[in-house]
């Protein structure tokens, strides 16, 4: 990404169509494949299959938030509006997967732990991440000036990214002091292949979603620039 001259840019390069088809067909194939091939777990029975949607959703949530962080830093560094639009697209997609992760986690927690929610470090920091995403997106919708919106949301995104590991740490500490801790179990190899395939499929879908959302944002801004240019006399080279 090279800095755009004087903050103006034209239409984006569209995401290739085959990427979308590939992402969705691969996703469908992998989901069906992993559900059909994985044997029922000795402890959890068919509930184990929740792993193929919950874990990948959590994985891409944090990946998308990583994109927000990097794009925000890049925007503050280079003042390239395209980085801001990329951060916004990643935040939208990330918040979707973050909400999905939370709901799927509850649907897993209820039958295995007997509760919909537990105040442990992972759950709480994921919820806080979701709230930060929501705040980030509402801030964007409440500020009109593009440059101001970019700088403010970049600051909120970066501080939010600093905050999430701190929440994790503090809740972990809070829980440890109260002597309740869940012990993670190792993963049997027959489930690993399904999990890895689903991680790949979700990652591909996320890349495609972010790309297309970014494309839409670029078109919107390019349209505003074109309208401005037309208003200024139609020859803004």
């Amino acid at each position: 990404m090279s800095p755009a001259p004087s903050g103006q840019f034209g239409p984006p390069k569209p995401a290739p169509n085959w990427l979308g088809w590939l992402a969705f067909l691969f996703f469908i194939f992998v989901q069906v494949y992993s559900v059909l091939t994985s044997p029922a777990d000795a402890m959890m029975g068919h509930l184990q299959k929740n792993m193929y949607v919950h874990v990948p959703a959590a994985w891409v949530t944090f990946g998308a938030f990583g994109v927000v962080l990097v794009a925000s830093l890049y925007f503050l560094w280079k003042d390239d509006e395209r980085a801001d639009l990329l951060a916004a697209s990643a935040a939208e997609v990330g918040s979707l997967f973050c909400g999905l992760t939370l709901v799927l986690g509850m649907l897993w927690g209820r039958p295995t732990w007997g509760v919909w929610w537990s105040w442990d470090a992972r759950l709480t920091s994921t919820l806080v991440l979701f709230l930060i995403f929501v705040g980030y997106l509402s801030l964007r919708s409440f500020v009109e000036d593009p440059h101001r919106r970019g700088q403010w949301s970049a600051a909120v995104g970066i501080l939010g990214a600093i905050n999430v590991p701190i929440v994790w740490m503090s809740v972990q500490w809070w829980r440890t002091l109260h002597q309740i801790q869940s012990s993670p179990r190792g993963l049997a190899p027959e489930y690993l292949r399904g999990l890895m395939l689903n991680l790949a499929a979700f990652t591909l879908l996320t890349i495609w979603f972010i790309w297309r959302r970014y494309e839409a944002a670029r078109y919107e801004r390019a349209a505003e620039h074109a309208a401005q240019a037309a208003a200024l006399g139609g020859y803004n080279g």
């Binding site: 029975g45 929740n50 999905l100 709901v103 649907l107 494309e215 839409a216 919107e220 006399g233 139609g234």
Partner: protein
């Protein structure tokens, strides 16, 4: 215990997959729609620029 969880769990698994597919499907529709709308808006604006 294990069989009890497994027996009652299928509903939760089905719900998880249904929710995932519905959410991703809705996102697909929304994303494709937004790109199409933004693109049409841009084409309109670009044409307007050339007319003047």
């Amino acid at each position: 215990m294990a069989s009890g969880i497994a027996g009652g769990g299928v509903g939760y698994v089905v719900a998880s997959y249904v929710i995932t597919w519905v959410v991703l499907g809705a996102m697909l529709v929304r994303t494709v729609g937004s790109v199409r709308r933004a693109r049409a808006e841009y084409d309109q604006a670009a044409k307007g620029e050339f007319r003047t």
